[in-house]
Structure formats: C-alpha cells, structure tokens
C-alpha cells in the first residue's frame, strides 16, 4: 500500500506552511485558496440538512395541526410532554433500538461466518460471492414486497409451500407475519444486510498478512488460536466500520416497516411513527417534537459511535 503517499497530505496540517513546500502564497490568501474548493459542498450540505432541522426545532414548540389551521400558535413544551407520555412514541423508541441492535448483530455474526467460508480457495468461489451479494442489490421496497408476499404469505408463500412439500397436505401453515411481526421484519432486513457486512469483513480478511498466519500455523497454533489471537484483532476495525455503517442505515429504516406491516402489530419504529404523525395525522407540532427527540437520541448514540470511527480514522492516518 502506498503508505508514503498517504502520509504526506495527511500530516500537512501539522507541518507549518513554509516547510510544506507546496504553498508559496501569503498565509491569508492561501487559507482561502485552501477553503474555496470545500465551500460549495459544505454550504450545500449545511443548507439542506441543518436549516430543515432548525425548522423542525421551531415547529416542535408550536401548536400546529394542518387539519385545524386556525389554532396555530406557540405551544411551549406541550408537544414534548405528549411525545414522552404517548405509549406509541415510547414503543417506537423501543422498536427502533430492538430492530437496529438485532439486525446489526445478527448480520454481523452471519456475515463474519460467511466471510470466513469465502476466505478459502475453492471451486466456484467467485460464483458464491456473486450469489451472496444478490440480496443487497434488490431495491429495499422490492425486497420487502418479496418477503411479504412471495415468502411469508400463509396461503401461497414459499415458506409454507416448502412445509407442504416436506410434511404433505396436513403440514402446519403458520401466518409468519401475524405470529412474529418483528422477527419477520428483522429476518428480511438481516437478509439484505448480511451481504454488506460479509463484503467488508471479507475484504478485511483478505488484507491479512498471510505469511505471518502461515508462520503461526507452522509454530503449532491451532485454527482457533489463530482466529482469536490474529484474525479477530486484525478484523476489529472492519467489524466496527461495518457495524457503524449498518447502524446508520438500519436506524432510519422505513421501507420494510412501511411495506411488511404498515407499522401495525407493534412494529412502528421512529421513522414510521414520525411519518404517520406528520403525513397521516397532520400533527406537525408533535411530529417535529418526536423528530427533535430522535435527533437528541441519535446524537448521544452517534457520539459514542463517532468516537469509535475516530479511533479507526486515527489508525488510518497514522
């Protein structure tokens, strides 16, 4: 890997501008010359993410329901009080956490196992990798529809179809979604996210220095010892990266909840709850208060996650 090339630009901010060798302009204009290429992207993102959120904060203190336009006004902290006392909102928080943690954990473990299986040379390895990637390349709504209708449907879904194949005509024909709505959603999400975890972990496995592993094996280390003492420590940053990225996307999942259960049967997560409060109930004030609560929660979790990312990043730029 081109370590030397990577280090110079990364170290640049620490070195003063004159021994940098690349800046000949006076300090003042040099600063702005450096900033200029950054500004369009930065301004764009600030305007489109921070301004709307500012709007959400303002509306969260307002009494504003689009069905009753005459009653619009300042509400103080009423909306927040209603969010915290609302059982639906509390259940949405709980569902979001449960969904995110279980999907990320299960797909990480499955992804790691499959990555280990694919980290060997065997006939058709490329084909198996391609097969494994397939779930990630199905549009999420389409995947949710596929699981709901083609797999879970109690009358003609594939799952019950296979039960009939195996057990004959009096095979059990469970209604998968009604019986275990949350597990049904988790399974569909795990199916889509395992390939993602697997790809990153496989890349991590393949960047291991194999000669050292070989040396350890000749020295008599067992496969388990090599795995726990060499493979896992090496994989740590890849595991953290895939968990962080997976969590960012699964926390915000809307498509699966919307498609598979329409938020019913106690599966409404926060994105769905806010969508419903705003889009169906038209209660702008309460939806915004819930949005603010989500963001505060996300900031708390994200600070912890970002700290992880930061250690990753330090290792990278070392």
């Amino acid at each position: 890997m081109t370590t030397s090339a990577a280090e110079t630009p990364l170290d640049a901010p620490e070195t003063s501008e004159d021994d940098d060798g690349r800046t000949t302009q006076p300090a003042g204009s040099g600063k702005w010359a450096r900033r200029l290429p950054l500004l369009p992207a930065l301004v764009f993102v600030i305007v489109l993410t921070q301004l709307p959120f500012l709007g959400t904060i303002i509306v969260s203190f307002m009494n504003w329901n689009a069905y009753y336009p005459d009653e619009r006004g300042f509400a103080g902290v009423d909306n927040f009080a209603r969010v915290f006392t609302d059982t639906n909102a509390r259940s949405a928080v709980f569902v979001t956490i449960l969904l995110t943690v279980s999907v990320v954990l299960v797909s990480l473990v499955l992804g790691l196992l499959i990555a280990l299986l694919l980290d060997r040379r065997f006939r058709g390895r490329g084909v198996v990798r391609t097969l494994m990637i397939t779930p990630f390349l199905v549009v999420p709504v389409a995947a949710a529809l596929l699981w709901k209708h083609a797999l879970y449907n109690p009358e003609y879904g594939l799952l019950n179809g296979m039960l009939t194949w195996v057990f004959g005509d009096d095979a059990p024909q469970p209604d998968w979604i009604s019986n275990n709505p949350l597990i049904a959603i988790v399974a569909a999400l795990v199916w889509q996210w395992t390939p993602f975890m697997m790809l990153i972990l496989l890349a991590g496995l393949q960047s291991r220095p194999m000669d050292v592993v070989e040396a350890a094996r000749i020295d008599g280390a067992s496969a388990w010892q090599i795995f726990t003492h060499m493979t896992l420590p090496h994989l740590r940053q890849y595991i953290e990266l895939s968990a962080l990225l997976g969590a960012i996307y699964v926390v915000q999942n809307f498509d699966h909840v919307f498609t598979i259960t329409s938020g019913g049967l106690g599966t409404a997560n926060l994105p769905y709850f806010i969508y419903q409060t705003f889009y169906t109930a038209q209660d702008y004030g309460r939806a915004s208060a819930a949005g603010v609560v989500v963001v505060i929660g996300t900031i708390i979790i994200a600070t912890l996650a970002l700290r992880t990312a930061f250690t990753l990043f330090k290792e990278e730029s070392r």
Binding site: T8, T49, P140, N153, Y156, T164, Q225, S317
Partner: protein, 310 residues
C-alpha cells in the same frame, strides 16, 4: 487501509511470540504428527467447508431466484401451494406491469439518480481535495461534520422541507429530489473520495504545480485520471442509494414526479391474485441496481466501505 505496515507487523510478531511460548504449544514430534493428521483429514473438512459456502450462497440467492421464477409464471400457477416449479412460463406479470404505465416513474428514478450522482461528484471532488491534498486547518472536524449529517435521520428534517416545497411550488417536482439526494449522498462521497485522493503521489502534484496548472486543471487533468476507480465506486454507491430511496420520494412527490419505488408501493394495493406481477415489478425496478452491482463488484466493496477497504 493505509496503516503503516511496520507497526501492524511488529504487533503480530509480538502475538506470534506469545503463541510460541503459550503453554499449549506442542513439541516438535507431536506437531509433525498433528500435521500428518491434518493432511489426512484435510480433503473431507475442505469439502464440508466448500459445501457450507455454496449452501450459504444458494440460500441467500434463493429468494431472488424465486422472485424471478414466479415473475414468469401465470397468476394461478404462482398462487399454488405447494409451489409448482415447472409451471408453464408466461409473460402475464410483465404485461400487467408494463400496462400500468411504469415508464414515467422509471424515467423519474433515472433522472433523480443520475443527475444527483453527477452533482455529488462535481461538488464532492474539490471538497475531498481540500480535505486531503491541500487540507484546510480543521479538516478532521469538517470530515466528521459531513459524517454526522448522515446520522441526522432524514425524517427529522422532512416536515420543513415539505412545507418549503409546498410554499414554493416544488412539490411533485423531480428537481427537488435531485437536490435532496445530492445532499443525502454528499457525506459518503466526500469520505470515499478523500480516502482515494490521500493516496495520490505527491510528486505528481508537484509536477503539475511546476507546470503552472490551476486548481481546475489539476483536478481534471492530473488527479481525476488517477482516482477514476475511486470516483466510479462513489458514483455507483450514490446511484444505488438514490435509486432505492423511498421516504422522501413518497412524501414529496405524487403523480408527476413519482419514482419507481413509490410506483411499486402503489402497484401492490390492487385486488385479486397478484403475486406474479408483484414479482415482475420488483424485478424490473431492481434490475438497474442488480446490473450495475454485478458489473462492478469490486467497486461496490470499496464504495460500501467508504473507501476504507481497498
């Protein structure tokens, strides 16, 4: 990852030493015996592992294979229990889907995904330059600001965006989605491109400087050709995430600017037997992503990991 290899290796060396002196370490003769034993056992164990890998691959691809097979069956055959794998093939599902007018939504998705991807790259590329090659002072803070916006759930800002769009007449306008998808994907693109730009050899840039090339020329003629694989990865990922997006499109568009995922959710609410046409519709809508992803598997891996894995 561009970790300096020296430290990693010495760490592993240390670990190796630990293992050498570990109480479980075997005597030479025992070790030889263990190796012989392993050699005898290897073929069967290897075969089992290969079989397990194939089984995992087949299990994960099975739902998609089932979706494609069902999409080519007639509705009555598709609804059979137990399933009839060898039912006569039919294009009924595809005919119903294409009769429902999917072209405008598909074209809307294409417009939103392609234009926003181009816009993301055009804006993120110079930004990545200002975060790696000639970095601004607080470049780590800026980089983490970008990532932190990714943690701000879309749903937390959707109401003001909706009210703004309503007031300015941008509801149901595909350009609004182009702009929003651009901001949605910008952090990922900046992160990825930064890690690719950080590996551009300095000598190359110095040569360009001597030749008196301006920033735009340097970016276009010197850096872009070198980091083309990175740009391709970033573009692929941005395209996929834009094509997949549902929440914003569902709230902000209706009849004119609706995208393929929104069309798909509306397509299912119809009555009667519909499994074959749902499978056909799902397959057609996923096809661009499937094709792009299969064609560029390695780019996909780099893209998904934000360029951290090379």
């Amino acid at each position: 990852m561009s970790t300096s290899e020296g430290t990693t290796e010495s760490a592993i060396d240390a670990r190796k030493d630990e293992m050498r002196t570990a109480p479980g370490a075997e005597e030479p003769t025992e070790r030889r015996r263990a190796q012989q034993y392993r050699h005898r056992k290897e073929p069967r164990a290897a075969m089992l592992l290969t079989a397990a890998a194939w089984l995992a691959g087949i299990l994960f691809a099975l739902p998609v294979a089932w979706m494609i097979l069902t999409s080519f069956h007639g509705e009555t055959d598709a609804a059979k229990n137990p399933p009839d794998l060898f039912a006569p093939l039919s294009l009924e599902g595809y005919r119903t889907f294409f009769d429902a007018g999917p072209w405008p939504p598909l074209l809307n998705s294409l417009t939103a995904s392609v234009l926003s991807t181009v816009l993301v790259i055009v804006l993120a590329f110079p930004a990545a330059y200002a975060l790696s090659i000639r970095p601004v002072k607080a470049w780590t803070d800026v980089l983490f600001f970008f990532l932190s916006t990714k943690m701000l759930p879309i749903v937390a800002g959707i109401l003001p965006i909706y009210l703004f769009a309503q007031a300015s007449g941008l509801l149901d306008n595909i350009w609004l989605l182009v702009i929003l998808y651009t901001s949605m994907n910008m952090p990922i693109a900046v992160w990825m491109l930064r890690s690719f730009l950080a590996e551009v050899p300095v000598e190359m840039l110095e040569a360009a400087q001597v030749d008196g090339a301006g920033l735009a020329t340097t970016l276009r003629k010197v850096i872009a050709p070198v980091v083309m694989p990175g740009i391709a990865s970033a573009a692929l990922i941005c395209f996929i995430f834009s094509w997949n997006e549902l929440l914003l499109a569902r709230v902000l568009t209706s009849t004119v600017a609706q995208t393929a995922p929104v069309f798909l959710t509306g397509f299912v609410t119809s009555q009667g037997l519909f499994l074959a046409k749902v499978c056909a519709a799902s397959f057609v809508v996923s096809l661009p992503v499937l094709a792009a992803g299969f064609a560029a598997q390695d780019k996909l891996v780099q893209g998904l990991s934000m360029g951290a894995v090379k």
